[in-house]
């Protein structure tokens, strides 16, 4: 039983930690969530349907993240001030030529700022490449609901003003550089499971 438990941790630790990290953006909180999830796995080992272990773990991780978000909201003012300073420092640094990193950092903030389940679905589908079935099992939603929420989540991400401003600034800088607009059937970055 211990060996199987160890195998399960090895198999899913990255998925759980990654999900928590992109949801909370605070490494310590993500570590707490990961620990909570795997301790609960041990406590419920006999009761779990092991064929759906991945979905069970992600459901527990999702619930644990929600609890942490609620706790964070109590300290939101301090965090916001800290984030503003951090972003400003980041922007100063980015002006020296790290535009891509800056965009990705803002993108991660924008993902974290999404409400649930939009945030969870974007992370599970677009970052972690989970299938619609795995996501619906983790979040207790139907496949069509997952698709609709994913579509809305991506639109909300694109509506993020900071992200759009950054993109437009970069686009203006690179206006001379020609880039093919459409690459039909391109597989770039496509990690989706069908």
């Amino acid at each position: 039983m211990r060996a199987l438990y160890q195998q399960a941790i090895d198999l899913y630790r990255q998925r759980v930690f990654s999900f928590a990290h992109y949801s909370l953006r605070v490494r310590e909180d993500a570590e707490d969530v990961t620990q909570e999830v795997f301790i609960k796995l041990w406590q419920n080992w006999q009761k779990i349907d092991h064929e759906k272990l991945g979905a069970w773990l992600m459901r527990v991780a999702h619930n644990s993240v929600i609890d942490h978000v609620r706790k964070q909201r109590g300290q939101q003012d301090n965090l916001d001030k800290f984030a503003e300073v951090e972003e400003q420092v980041g922007e100063d640094f980015d002006e020296s030529g790290r535009d891509q990193d800056s965009f990705k950092r803002h993108l991660q903030s924008a993902i974290k700022a999404l409400d649930d389940p939009f945030r969870s679905i974007v992370i599970m589908r677009d970052i972690q490449g989970l299938s619609y079935e795995e996501i619906q099992g983790s979040l207790d939603l139907s496949t069509s609901q997952v698709k609709v929420y994913l579509h809305r989540a991506r639109r909300k991400l694109r509506e993020n003003t900071q992200l759009r401003q950054l993109f437009e600034t970069q686009a203006a800088d690179n206006s001379k550089a020609t880039k093919p607009v459409l690459v039909a059937g391109s597989d770039k970055g496509n990690r989706h499971a069908k």
């Binding site: 211990r2 990255q14 930690f17 620990q35 990705k104 677009d126 459409l182």
Partner: protein
């Protein structure tokens, strides 16, 4: 004309995610591509969506450090260590655990009552003569009980006495000086001595 263009742009922009996920069929792809190549607004919107989409896809999977999982392994090991001996617990220790779970007064009362009942039952069976010994003698012949049988029965009784002694010692530990169990022990011992004496008397030669 601008209205039809706007509505077309609206529908094309709704299909951006479908195009990026390669979920459009060939006909839809053709319409989409031809519109985006002709419309600057939709081309810009598409380029932005593609940039965001690619950036999200390129975000790496992050793993935690091994040290994060050490408390998890420790917790699991601690729980399994406490769970396994519990499965191997013997009946007396289970009984002890049950007794310790009870309130103090109930625990003392129950254990002393059990000891007293067992002791009385044994002493009655040893001391009290049968109502009609002659009938027993008549029905069950004296030859049926050899010296071996009697000695075996006495051994068994000794085992029972040892068990009762242990039980009473344990109860004494539990109840302290509140009750004295030794008189019961003495009475049991006295009854066995009488039984040994009766053994030599052929008239009193009962089943024991």
């Amino acid at each position: 004309m601008p209205n039809s263009n706007e509505s077309q742009c609206y529908f094309i922009q709704l299909q951006i995610d479908g195009y990026l996920d390669q979920e459009l069929n060939e006909a839809q792809q053709l319409v989409f591509v031809s519109h985006v190549q002709a419309c600057a607004v939709c081309a810009s919107e598409f380029r932005y969506a593609q940039t965001v989409h690619d950036a999200v896809m390129e975000l790496p999977q992050i793993d935690c450090m091994d040290s994060v999982l050490e408390p998890v392994y420790r917790s699991a090991a601690a729980e399994s260590q406490t769970a396994e001996p519990r499965q191997r617990e013997s009946l007396p220790s289970q009984l002890g655990a049950f007794l310790y779970g009870l309130p103090l007064y109930f625990r003392y009362g129950l254990s002393s009552a059990v000891v007293a009942v067992i002791a009385l039952a044994v002493s009655f069976s040893v001391i009290t003569p049968r109502d009609k010994p002659e009938q027993l003698v008549a029905n069950e012949s004296a030859e049926q009980y050899s010296a071996e049988d009697i000695s075996r029965a006495l051994e068994e009784l000794n085992v029972a006495i040892d068990y009762l002694n242990q039980l009473s010692q344990r109860t004494e530990v539990m109840i302290g000086d509140r009750f004295l169990v030794s008189p019961i022990q003495d009475s049991i011992n006295a009854s066995f001595e009488k039984a040994m004496m009766r053994e030599s008397d052929p008239l009193q030669n009962g089943p024991i």
